[in-house]
């Protein structure tokens, strides 16, 4: 039997691509290496992913799952002397006023179950070992290991949603662009007893910015908060500390972190991950497409990962549908269109990410972008809007121009990252 679509990976990108294809009558097989539920990092959504969850039909289930409502994002300095609170509802394009914080074990399971409910065949603990891409009308042949034996299936289309494993990227040796971002390293765990923001802001993600590193605080349920440190890999290596020591040292050095974690108790091990920003230069072939992290990974500061996975899954599904309607393969023009759309989406985030890591641009981000509704415009981008109206476009351009000027002129006050040591307990 030949499947219409085989999907490698059952995370949000894979299960969404699968659900969308199955809902238009395609015969879909999803091969997931692990047994769900499983831990995964990347626990915060942004609003412009909501529409894809609606399109795949899973949105009502997500709404009823009891996830924490995320109405915005807080950015604060490690010394507690400056903060910016963004409410998505007050952005320049407030199409989706809120989204959710999601514990990924639960969220990914929900989406994968929905893919199965939509008609996909789902195999967990099925590790894809090899793919022979078919040419012309010959289907692709996938070999995977499941329950101790090797199996082979055929499919007309292949969607690679294997995450940062990048199965096809590695198999085909696809060229990558490294995008010139420093390599970073994340150390994270789940805690309870972490101090939350007051009122509705309790559902916000909070980013605590230190001079050359940052922390995330993501409320996952009534008790559990995900806390993570992201620092430069070279600085971490040079420090000679273990990830846990490095995490604890950073907490001890910051007023804001001490305040939030004063009564916190860790309820998981410490996890670590390398954050290496890259992007494949080829993202589609005649009958295959890369989605989500398998296509490219960008720094997680603005929680863009799941949204990009969802939106690329939708773009990939649309490309397959269009090609099938004309009984054709993806033409070179359609392949480069897919690449262009994915690049356009990630480029905007990359610009914002570069501004975030530049201390002068961050001064502007935090302080003085209230004129001309610049904060509301930046808020739109933070919400995940990458299809700009003119009013949004010029404000975003102006923001980035001001960021460059801020290096030489003091448009916004210079930030002082200095902090005092923890009070002695004598």
């Amino acid at each position: 039997m030949i499947y219409d679509v085989a999907v490698i990976g059952g995370g949000p990108g894979g299960s969404t691509a699968g659900a969308l294809a199955a809902r238009r009558g395609q015969k879909v097989l999803i091969l997931e290496r692990e047994k769900f539920p499983r831990f995964h990092v990347g626990e915060s959504l942004i609003p412009f992913g909501n529409e894809v969850l609606a399109a795949s039909g899973v949105w009502p289930k997500v709404e009823q799952a009891g996830f924490i409502v995320k109405p915005g994002a807080d950015f604060t300095l490690g010394n507690s002397r400056g903060m910016l609170r963004l409410w998505f509802a007050r952005s320049l394009s407030p199409r989706f006023p809120t989204t959710f914080q999601v514990e990924r074990s639960k969220f990914d399971q929900l989406l994968l179950n929905h893919a199965a409910d939509s008609g996909c065949e789902v195999r967990e603990e099925a590790k894809v070992e090899n793919v022979e891409l078919g040419e012309g009308q010959t289907p692709h042949r996938l070999t995977y290991r499941h329950e101790g034996e090797s199996r082979t299936v055929e499919a007309r289309w292949l969607v690679d949603a294997s995450g940062r494993d990048a199965f096809l990227g590695r198999l085909l040796g696809l060229p990558k662009t490294d995008l010139g971002m420093a390599k970073r390293f994340a150390t994270f765990a789940h805690f309870h007893g972490v101090l939350r923001n007051e009122g509705a802001a309790g559902g916000n993600i909070t980013i605590v910015r230190l001079q050359d590193a940052w922390f995330w605080f993501i409320p996952l349920d009534g008790e559990k908060t995900s806390v993570g440190l992201v620092q430069r890999l070279d600085a971490f290596k040079a420090s000679g500390l273990t990830p846990q020591q490095s995490f604890e040292q950073a907490v001890a050095s910051s007023t804001e972190l001490r305040y939030r974690l004063k009564k916190a108790e860790r309820m998981s091990e410490f996890y670590t991950a390398g954050d290496y920003t890259y992007r494949h230069q080829v993202m589609a072939g005649e009958r295959w497409l890369l989605v989500g992290d398998a296509a490219g990974f960008i720094d997680p500061i603005f929680s863009s990962g799941v949204m990009i996975a969802l939106r690329t899954a939708r773009l990939a599904d649309a490309a397959m549908e269009k090609a099938d309607a004309a009984a054709k393969i993806l033409s070179p023009a359609e392949r480069s269109r897919y690449l262009r759309e994915v690049r356009k989406m990630t480029n905007l985030f990359l610009k914002l990410i570069r501004a975030y890591y530049d201390n002068h641009s961050f001064e502007l981000f935090l302080n003085s972008t209230r004129w001309l509704n610049l904060t509301a415009a930046v808020n739109s981008l933070v919400s995940g809007n990458t299809r700009f109206s003119f009013g949004l476009w010029w404000r975003i351009q102006l923001f980035f121009i001001l960021c460059r000027l801020q290096k030489r002129f003091k448009i916004a006050p210079r930030l002082d990252f200095s902090d005092r040591p923890a009070p002695s307990r004598s």
Partner: protein, 88 residues
């Protein structure tokens, strides 16, 4: 450890500064100084600093700190609550 409430800070603002808007119009995010703000000036800043020290026992020691924490009532409240938490 006393909590810092937004209403207390609004009260402080109303009592010590020449406001060009009514207290009901003040929200947490509204900038205190500069264009599009509540329109406070440097005298107001000084009065406010003194009032904060009197009410909470926390001094804003230098202009750089003042510029950062006096962005809005939200940022002031944020900073004050942390200061109070670490004050014996």
């Amino acid at each position: 450890m006393a909590d810092v409430s937004l209403d207390d800070l609004k009260q402080l603002l109303v009592e010590n500064c020449m406001l060009k808007v009514s207290p009901e119009e003040i929200n947490e995010d509204a900038p205190l100084f500069g264009p599009g703000s509540l329109g406070l000036d440097s005298i107001d800043a000084l009065q406010l600093t003194v009032a904060i020290e009197r009410s909470y026992g926390i001094a804003i020691k230098d202009p750089a700190t003042a510029r950062q924490v006096l962005q809005s009532l939200g940022s002031l409240r944020h900073w004050l609550s942390r200061e109070l938490a670490e004050t014996p």
